[in-house]
Symmetry: D4
Subunit: 250 residues, 8 copies
């Protein structure tokens, strides 16, 4: 989408209607004024096949429906995070492919699925209470065209649970680990496999867990060198990054 | 050590030199004024066989020598924590049994050893940098008449290291675990054995470890129910508590 | 529960159906894949006589009933922490031994009581508002087969209250102390007895108590060497650890 | 010290040299411009007999000598807090009454002592390491004309120590309590006497004492209603406030 | 209230029914076991004329009524802090002198007023939103037999407001200052008068006030040496301490 | 408004009814006692044309109506921040010029508009969720007689959005930037223009945003030297300061 | 400085050597690739007359000399913040106009002074220890072409000191206030004048000042609406922003 | 490396020397006791071609030399982080390929280089002071067989600097961004490319940067969904994770 006024000015310059200094003056501010045309193009190339994403929190069902319909007019797929049941009702009426995940509030419309992944994304949670966060990661990863392997409630107090998953862990390209309380699972997983591990601290816990701070600090100080961390309860971010890591290169 | 003035007053009361109200007046304040005689007696019974302890930090070699000599005149054994090499020189000259542990600064004079333990105290550290803290626990536990089993550098990033210690872990009465950084080892150990686990966060780490806060929070939020926690770098406290837990009942 | 495929493979190896390298290949991954059989066995031995525990918070009455019934099919006793009155109704209908403690939300089914303790567990609280946390410790300790001595509202602002409990304190094997606000009671108790003291900070207080942080820090910095600490409001953990400490050795 | 220009203007006004509006204009800004004359007068009345105070930290021996000499030219007594040994040398050469307290760095020149107190100020510390802070309070209180009763190393882990001081405690008008680590002593003292208790948290401790934060929070959350708190290590402030409380009304 | 068993034992000892060692054994534990009799007596002397206090928060109207009736059977006056309107209704029906302060929830029954103060207690608040906390201090001080001078909404952004109170400030014995947000008023007041200033941080504010932490820190770091601090929103404590400071000595 | 008693005293002094020392005594306390007359006058000059402001939070519709009516009797314009819809109803009935901004709760009565600005105030927000805070700044700035340019949802994750605003940015006198989460927009804007940038952290975000702390810290550490910061969510303050900066000098 | 390749491409386009799509492709990435030419030009216009600035901390005398010489080859004036005495020696040898301010480490070379200010910048500090930070602001403001009025040690504990500056305060265009400890001075100043007040918290204080956090929080919560805040000890930023506010519009 | 005792037992079982239950008993504990043999094998496969790593901090030159020589006997390449110049001297004498990076203290011995990367790793820093951290990432990535593109001092206050790198950014597989102060660069970079961005907060800054906390929080709250975070100053971790992401699949 080259802006019309730029084309027009170039033609006027070519025809001599405006001089070299005039066209240079115009171009001087181009970087800022018309950045959109360059940006959009670039994004199209990079994001091909990824769904559009709406952050649903704080948006009304009306707003989500409106934005969703607009996006789905141009793109095959849509992901809404932290949406309400009501937003689901609205979109389901218009798009039968609409699917809702009540645990985490994610909502997808996937009309055209293509596997963009080099391999599988592993998603693990320490406790059952961490599942909504892990599920947000899962829905995100799947909506972005990945195969996932999910396994929940495998915290370090019963080590045999995660150890029994070793084969699966080894077969992934990247691993997401959600944990609250002391947040120790990513370190243990990070020691078992030589893959990028994305740690998601959750706000699960009480007292000195300080709504996820204990888990966050634990993960940032992981003695396993392959662990990086996202914000507390940010399952979406973990799923998004894992998808970028797992992305097949064209 | 009943105070003399109390004996004297009782005799005077018995002999009629002072009346009932007078002796009652005197007794009214006894709880506060002469508490020592009750307290000391009580302690003697309970602490039988334990060494006297000096907290060496901030004390000069002179002071440690002075207090140490005084204590050793009445008690067979002595433990000094966080002592300097110089304090060691002084006491060694007087007491050939004196032994110094330069890693943690502990110093012991054990002239009469008796095993007071019901079993063995296990002491584990996550990294090599945590060893001084673990060693302070060990020296304390041994000076208090316990057998210890120590095993260092068994952190969760290489799980096989702690797993290979399972038999030893199972054979203890109580376990001490020192760890810095994310402090995950106590949770893992706590899940492997049904024993009291005393977690010691260490100040080892950098950045968001905040000098041991990350490890401390991790341990307080342990998903293993058998973990209790002492202050950052408090190896002495861990060794002391483990000794009380392991204590044989007479 | 040795897995059948392992027995089968050993027999095939003995009979020559598979060679040494083949059986070694199979065993190579055994550590991770079939860990359960070793773990469960080990637990059975250690936990003999202890109740199964459900962390009730965040679970529906339906879920608690379901898990509870399943556990009670195999085990005589059950402990549920932070359960609702509704969960109580459900379990009471099925198990007449079911007992509910509304202050702390604990719920027990004890059909077979055996005293597993070497002695008595003392449980003290600084204020009346700390009682629910202390009670959670008490119910846990009793459900795990211990005799308890409880004494509430004995905070340090009226020292005579805890001092009048000295005889009782001295008669215990281990002491639990729950306190909010400045959390000073464990230090005072720790100075009065040479027993392991498990301090439970509570979230009671206002302003600069920061929901239990002040009490937590106070306890971690106790000048009494025999104090270890659990998470804020974690009465269950304190009761659990005290039970392990008090446990009779078979 | 009524400013001369004010007197002059009033006389001009009386003599008709300036009009009512002019003198009112001048007075309009008087509140701000010439506040000194009111302020100084007020202070003279209130502070009668108190020494002048220099906060020595960060000042050179030269500066302290200079200010000290200037103040002592007009006032009989001087108090310098956190002064160096060198500053002491300088002032001692000029003022033989100069006395230095190396533990806390306080320095006094008291040439005219008058007891301004209604009673005695009690000063207590939990540990020996807290003594420098307590001593700063003591020197301040004494330099301000008070009799003090000091008693150090009476922390709550050995309750008999503070209890044996009950008579003394009861005989004071106000009590200062300095404590580091968990800072529990002010609560205990506050429960023993119905006097104002000024709590001074000290930076003594390690790990989770966070340089006095644990003690500070403990004191702010004291369950004894008669405890107020000053900044960490602020012995001077405690001594100053206690002196104001103890002050005889003329 | 000398305990009967002590009298009895003394008589038996005098009569020779029990020997010297036996009576000494009994006295050995007296400090702890029967502390009440000494304590209560002491309190009676010190607290003479002060009301009994109930901390109403978290207590039901039933409980407050029950405790209140019991206390008022023995004491003329009562103070309840943080009580509900319902508790007020209950006590009013029984005691016509009952008075309720809905802003702060304080409730008093004063049947016998005697002025215990040496002078007047000044109570100031920075904003109108701080009034409930200031009022709690006022009601406490008045119920404890003091005359108060209250002046609200005199924060430092309009300095003339507090400056116009100078005469009043100077006429007090002790000053209470309640302030939220940046908590600067106590420093300003502390600079204007040489009296003890008790600063009460309030939780008023938003954002980086962190529910009173900003005000608390400001007050602890006051550049005026005569400021001491109580917990956030602790109007009762401020009123209590001010009453102790203002107390007439008999 | 020179106070009558001052005029009276001056006249008495002139007439000789009172002497020089008497009038000086009276003036001595004038700074504090009658400061109002100087203050108000000063304010009138400086604030000319600015609306009166009521902080609506925590005030009832009744109170806002009452204060508002009183202020509007003397001043043409009024600004109420954080007012309720109900307060709006009340004032609208009396003042048809009343306008309400439901996003941020601001309410204005502007009956006399005069442009006091030297230029335009730019107001930008990073996300749509930050708009209420930005809008509070806008309403404040406009009610204080400024022209504003507002542009919302131009956060740094899509840089082209803010870059396309460069011309507008450059045309302002001062810029307000509201942002939550990582709060990076003020740094970017600060690098694009050499104008004063007032950064407003918002409480928008979740997890480690800690209700605006992350944004606040980010802004305080801005690598652009032209950024100063106000409290979290303090749109009013930002609008007020920007108005002072933009103010035309008479 | 239009990049040569752009001029060349435009000429080729005009001459038909490259087509419209080709030149558009080239321009598409221009926003990012050649931004410098637009940026520099823009800055030249805005910053006219301002000195170049080097942040000296962490740079060697060699580096500062090198960068300084390069900048002074093109610009008349230079400001270096946090420079060492050694860097001063170096630059002084080359530029006789070089001036060093040892308190704050600022260093200026001003060879061409022009007053860019609309008025005067007021700079105030609460204590003498805050002077280095205030001085950094002063040197910055003066090097940027402003007249300043500085007044130090006017903290709120002696209110008459700042009040006596009222006339000066009122005569400024913008005011900078540096304060440590409780940081109350900006609020008081903000209440006295209706000017933009830039508050600089300093790290001066001890204990609960937490190296400037107490002052920072105090200032962010100022009850005066005209106060904005910069980072702790950031005198340079305050001077820079004040210069932008005071800047004469051409 | 199958342990000998396992082979021996299997043979004894085959030969009937031990029975089925006996061999099962032995295998029961195998998971824990002999985990090494499985673990090592697994690591060999995964880590093929990666250097061995020594964390140099706190290790003496002697220790680093010793471990380094041992590792280099079995592996071609070595990476030591945070090593001293002295350790470099030692290893250089033995291994001529040894190379030292004094900025960050990294040290490599690369004797066999193979490119393991799918593409290029981009490494960017916001300021020059962040370079040591960025360089640690670079050395790590290169030692692990990657091609890097590094570009430093491209912070957001001068946006044109990072924008001019757009082509390079787009050509990478994964991007590392190191930034201190407000840590805004990762968000801006994350918005420009759809690649995994690994953010490294650095401890660069002063005042409210709190040694990297401000940058850390900024990055965790990034509005760009593709940003994950490692510990403060953890350049090694960032380089390690980027290498895993960039790793060619065999």
């Amino acid at each position: 989408m080259i802006p019309d006024n730029l084309r027009k000015a170039l033609r006027e310059f070519k025809e001599g209607a405006i001089g070299e200094e005039q066209i240079l003056d115009l171009l001087r501010d181009l970087p800022y004024q018309n950045l959109d045309f360059a940006k959009v193009d670039h994004h199209r190339a990079l994001r091909h096949g990824f769904p559009e994403v709406i952050f649903g929190k704080g948006k009304t069902a009306d707003q989500i429906e409106g934005i969703g319909v607009a996006l789905l007019a141009k793109h095959p797929n849509l992901l809404v995070t932290r949406a309400t049941e009501e937003a689901h009702e609205r979109l389901k009426n218009r798009f039968p492919e609409c699917r809702y995940y009540p645990n985490c509030g994610a909502l997808t419309v996937v009309r055209e699925f293509k596997n963009h992944g080099r391999g599988k994304i592993g998603i693990f949670s320490a406790g059952t209470a961490d599942i909504p966060v892990a599920e947000e990661a899962q829905v995100t990863a799947e909506a972005m065209g990945n195969e996932t392997h999910c396994c929940y409630d495998v915290g370090v107090a019963g080590l045999h649970r995660i150890l029994s998953q070793l084969d699966t862990l080894r077969s992934c390209t990247v691993v997401i680990v959600a944990a609250g309380m002391e947040g120790a699972l990513p370190s243990v997983v990070g020691g078992l496999v030589d893959l990028p591990v994305i740690a998601v601290p959750t706000s699960i816990g009480y007292g000195a867990s300080f709504n996820g701070i204990a888990a966050l600090l634990g993960m940032l100080n992981s003695c396993s060198a392959n662990v990086s961390v996202v914000n507390i309860d940010n399952g979406f971010g973990a799923g998004y990054i894992a998808s970028l890591i797992n992305r097949k290169q064209d």
